[in-house]
């Protein structure tokens, strides 16, 4: 009871100025930096892009000469562009549909059927989204090429039906590759929804006399619609923004991300590229709205207080079917990774089996890729650290401080999550390219900024999810004990949200190491990364070299994920949700 500890002694009448300086400004300063970053590197480029889309064509694209709809007119009167738009919509919609078709039954099988190795199935089931997707694309060229091993096998199986596998180049290949890459989003969320569902709801329906089919139709499926909608949107957004797969196996079937690069690099016309970017955003926005519209009517609060675990199907038939479904999907989606590793030890793979065993592909990495390796690591790690800091601070602001316009802040942070990487690149180029005040083209900075803009949502979402679970009274208790805001933030908030910061950062780091769609428009000779090098190797048909580099990426990414999974029981799925 010493007076020493009591901090209020003579707080009777202090002047306003004195009060102003007594105020705790650490909070304000810490919050201001990420907000400023968002304003300068996200909102400003977005606004500029929107304006440029309506600029009249001019000699110098960076000079404003007047308004016009020329960009859009060109787009809608040129067959090439219209076909790209059509292709994008067809590919994205088919991929979304197919992912649901594969992911939901598989999620149900793993969640509700008693099969061995469910944990392993879950971990293997997440691999395709963690692995570089465009790398998988060219392996399908090997496997499904004219003499490819899988094509030969499938044609033999399907020949009695009179079906032949279409060419891997083009729409079929793009849809196949993207489906096998993105189905895990639906699978993981369906698994979560099916296993997390309250069994009491289904049991009570059964006691009221409902048949199994009826329970499925009226209880089980309707309850997973919200999470299904969220994952479907995620797949659509990824599919429409994917650059690597169409670039590798699209052939002359352009889609929006490839046509943006084509248009920008062909003519250097940033204003026309902006017009396409704006169209791309409109489509994504429309789908987002559609999804919210469908799902909003079906959001349910859990109203029960008690919760029991779901009962698993145990019959032999159900287990056999479940295992077969899971195995087929897993084999097909993991085949590319296996192919890459095999291919990396050979010179050629044009027939059924690879030929010309060699170590040279790996030896070459040390000779020709050390700078690219450095770049990849330097850029990814720097951006990840910044994302971790900014993402957690921003999450803390929106979730705990709830300032006026928190919803708007949330929206602007999350916007890049659904925007195609090429659109973000175009936005940065139109704001910081040419002869503007800040010329960043070709620098490391522009790549780090683009990575931060695109990946901050990962950490942000992960931390927000964690904070909503965290009772605010933990922080209040610290304040009451006499701690200032910063002390509380450092000693209580950060340690408690650390698992979500780590899981968000791991997602960020692993996806940045394989980033292609943003980098491909922003890199220079100096800032080339490994994915860019793989991409060029594929284009030069140097598959051995591409595979060796990809294998290195695979191993690194796998080690990171594996370490995190064994060290912490962190859940990386929350950083993938909207």
């Amino acid at each position: 009871m010493k007076a020493k500890y009591s901090m209020i002694e003579n707080g009777a009448e202090t002047s306003r100025i004195k009060k102003f300086f007594q105020k705790d400004f650490s909070q304000l300063i810490i919050f201001a930096v990420p907000m400023l970053f968002i304003a300068v590197f996200l909102l400003y480029p977005m606004a500029i892009t929107l304006l440029r889309a309506f600029w009249a064509p001019a000699e110098n694209n960076y000079r404003f000469t007047g308004w016009s709809l020329e960009g859009f007119r060109t787009f809608f009167t040129t067959k090439l562009y219209l076909r790209a738009l059509g292709n994008s919509v067809i590919v994205s919609l088919s991929v979304t549909f197919l992912c649901i078709l594969i992911g939901v039954p598989m999620g149900y099988c793993v969640a509700r059927v008693k099969i061995p190795g469910r944990k392993l199935l879950l971990s293997l089931g997440i691999l395709p989204i963690i692995m570089p997707s465009f790398v998988g694309a060219y392996t399908w060229v090997i496997l499904l090429g004219n003499n490819g091993i899988v094509r030969t096998a499938l044609n033999w199986i399907l020949s009695p039906l009179g079906i032949k596998i279409p060419s891997i180049y083009g729409m079929f290949g793009m849809i196949l590759c993207m489906t096998l890459t993105y189905y895990p989003f639906v699978f993981q969320m369906a698994y979560g929804a099916f296993s997390g569902a309250n069994a009491l709801l289904e049991e009570s329906a059964m006691l009221m006399g409902a048949s199994k089919a009826r329970i499925m139709r009226t209880i089980t499926l309707p309850l997973i619609i919200p999470s299904l909608g969220a994952s479907a949107l995620l797949v659509f957004v990824r599919a429409i923004g994917n650059f690597g797969i169409p670039a590798v196996i699209g052939g002359n079937n352009y889609v929006l991300p490839t046509i943006i690069k084509f248009a920008y690099e062909g003519s250097g016309d940033i204003n026309f590229a902006s017009s396409i970017a704006v169209l791309n955003v409109i489509i994504t926005g429309f789908v987002l709205y559609l999804q919210k519209f469908i799902v909003s009517k079906r959001e349910y609060e859990t109203i029960s207080s008690s919760h029991t675990d779901v009962k698993l199907h145990e019959s032999f038939g159900a287990r056999l079917i479940a295992i077969i479904i899971c195995l087929i999907v897993l084999v097909f989606s993991l085949l590319p990774q296996v192919t890459i590793i095999v291919m990396s030890f050979f010179k050629r793979w044009t027939g059924i089996l690879p030929t010309g065993f060699t170590w040279n592909n790996y030896a070459d990495i040390f000779k020709k890729s050390s700078h690219e390796l450095f770049n990849s690591f330097f850029l990814s790690i720097t951006a990840t650290l910044m994302c971790a800091i900014f993402g957690s601070i921003l999450a803390y602001i929106t979730e705990r401080k709830r300032p006026k316009g928190a919803a708007l802040l949330d929206l602007s942070i999350m916007a890049p999550f659904i925007l195609p990487g090429t659109v973000v690149s175009i936005a940065l180029l139109s704001a910081f390219g040419g002869n503007g005040i800040m010329k960043l083209t070709g620098t490391y900075a522009i790549l780090i900024i683009s990575y931060m803009i695109r990946r901050t949502p990962y950490v942000y979402r992960s931390v927000v999810a964690n904070l909503t679970q965290l009772n605010p009274s933990l922080e209040e208790a610290s304040t009451i004990s006499g701690a200032t805001w910063f002390y509380t933030f450092r000693r209580v908030s950060v340690p408690l949200i650390l698992p979500s910061i780590i899981s968000g950062s791991v997602m960020t780091l692993t996806t940045l190491l394989q980033e292609l769609s943003t980098t491909v428009l922003l890199y220079s000779a100096r800032t080339k990364t490994i994915p860019i090098q793989i991409f060029s190797a594929v284009n030069e048909n140097n598959l051995g070299r591409a595979s060796a580099l990809s294998t290195v990426l695979l191993v690194i990414v796998f080690i990171i994920i594996y370490t995190m999974n064994t060290r912490k029981s962190t859940d990386i799925s929350s950083s993938m949700k909207m």
């Binding site: 007076a3 209020i8 004990s481 000693r491």
Partner: protein, 373 residues
């Protein structure tokens, strides 16, 4: 040093200037004495937690003044108020050992290590956790009652001027809750720190508090000791919230300087009530409410003098007493009466017609709206 807590015309309005304005605290003025264990009691939404959070500084009041001792703390941020608080959820830090949890407030104050160890040991002995401190596990490994004690220790260790307890017993089971009531009272008396205890449970408040304030819709209805609130409730709300009271529609027959005669409507049953100090002296012919606690009413199978006929709806055996729920003429009392008897009344079953009689000396008088007379 323990300090008194004084509220002067405290108002709290949530969403000021918006459509959903909520006036949560209305002109609260009262004083909590030094070293007192004071209970804030009321139904949910009455403003008791709001008042506590504003006392802590976790919310800021819209107008009025709050004092700890002589210091106006209305605008002082919570971390400078030197208070201790125990949250309903305990809010123990899962990432720290129980020692570090308890030491937290001392670490904030940059107290030297040796003093931290001494103070933590002392306070853990006070709350009866010296054995657990030796093992020093994470607080998540403790039982609910032990977590509660750690939370109290953490709030006490830096000798706060005021200790705030926000429904601290709500998460404990019934038996432990009764035990911890006594423990909290023991610990508070040992430290003599001015303590504010928020609860919605009247039994708990009466058992724990030196004095109680009953709140309703942001207004303090009555402040007093448990005995005062129970035996001299100021209005029908307090009477019915602190324990239970049955009300009968009545009219004043005659009113004199020494006594008032009241008759229960349509029955001819008359009471003579001594005139104490009243704000309003009822006049002959005025409508009033006569209130009687369940234990001052009785049921019998046969008609007695001054009894009201009724029908037993439900009989509940509640251990030390038997509760009869009795329906009488709707004009006399529109709600079911609760009558507590020491033992089962032979020959009375659910559905029987019975008679209700009163203890004439133990009835209370209110205005027809339930206000104080």
């Amino acid at each position: 040093m323990s300090k008194n807590v004084r509220y002067e015309n405290v108002n709290k309005i949530f969403g000021l200037g918006t459509k959903n304005e909520v006036h949560a605290l209305k002109d609260i003025s009262f004083t909590i004495e030094e070293g007192e264990l004071f209970c804030l009691l009321g139904p949910s939404g009455c403003g008791k937690t709001t008042l506590l959070r504003n006392t802590a500084g976790l919310d800021t009041i819209t107008s009025g003044k709050m004092y700890y001792g002589d210091v106006d703390i209305s605008t002082i941020p919570p971390y400078k108020r030197n208070i201790g608080m125990v949250f309903q959820s305990y809010a123990l830090y899962p990432h720290m050992s129980i020692f570090e949890n308890v030491a937290y407030g001392l670490r904030v104050r940059k107290v030297p290590n040796d003093i931290v160890t001494r103070k933590v040991t002392e306070v853990m002995e006070l709350v009866g956790l010296q054995e657990e401190l030796k093992r020093n596990p994470s607080p998540t490994a403790l039982s609910g009652g032990q977590q509660q004690r750690v939370a109290i220790a953490r709030a006490l260790v830096y000798d706060p001027d005021v200790l705030l307890l926000d429904e601290p017993l709500a998460n404990l089971d019934a038996k432990l809750r009764r035990y911890m009531r006594a423990e909290i009272r023991r610990i508070q008396k040992a430290t003599n720190i001015t303590t504010i205890f928020v609860t919605h449970d009247q039994e708990e408040a009466m058992a724990v508090g030196d004095r109680l304030a009953v709140l309703r819709k942001g207004i303090v209805e009555q402040i007093g000791t448990s005995d005062e609130l129970y035996n001299r409730p100021k209005n029908a709300f307090v009477a019915n919230f602190i324990g239970k009271m049955n009300f009968f529609n009545s009219h004043v027959q005659s009113s004199g300087p020494k006594e008032t005669v009241v008759e229960i409507d349509t029955t001819g049953i008359r009471f003579v009530i001594k005139s104490e100090k009243r704000h309003v002296e009822p006049k002959a012919g005025d409508a009033v409410l006569v209130g009687g606690r369940p234990e001052y009413l009785s049921v019998s199978a046969e008609k007695k003098e001054d009894s009201i006929p009724g029908k037993v709806r439900i009989i509940q055996h509640l251990g030390s007493f038997i509760r009869y729920e009795v329906e009488i003429d709707r004009n006399i009392s529109p709600v079911t009466l609760e009558i507590d008897m020491d033992s089962m009344q032979p020959g009375i079953h659910e559905g029987d017609d019975i008679f209700v009689t009163f203890d004439h000396d133990r009835v209370a008088l209110f205005s027809p709206e339930g206000r104080e007379l």
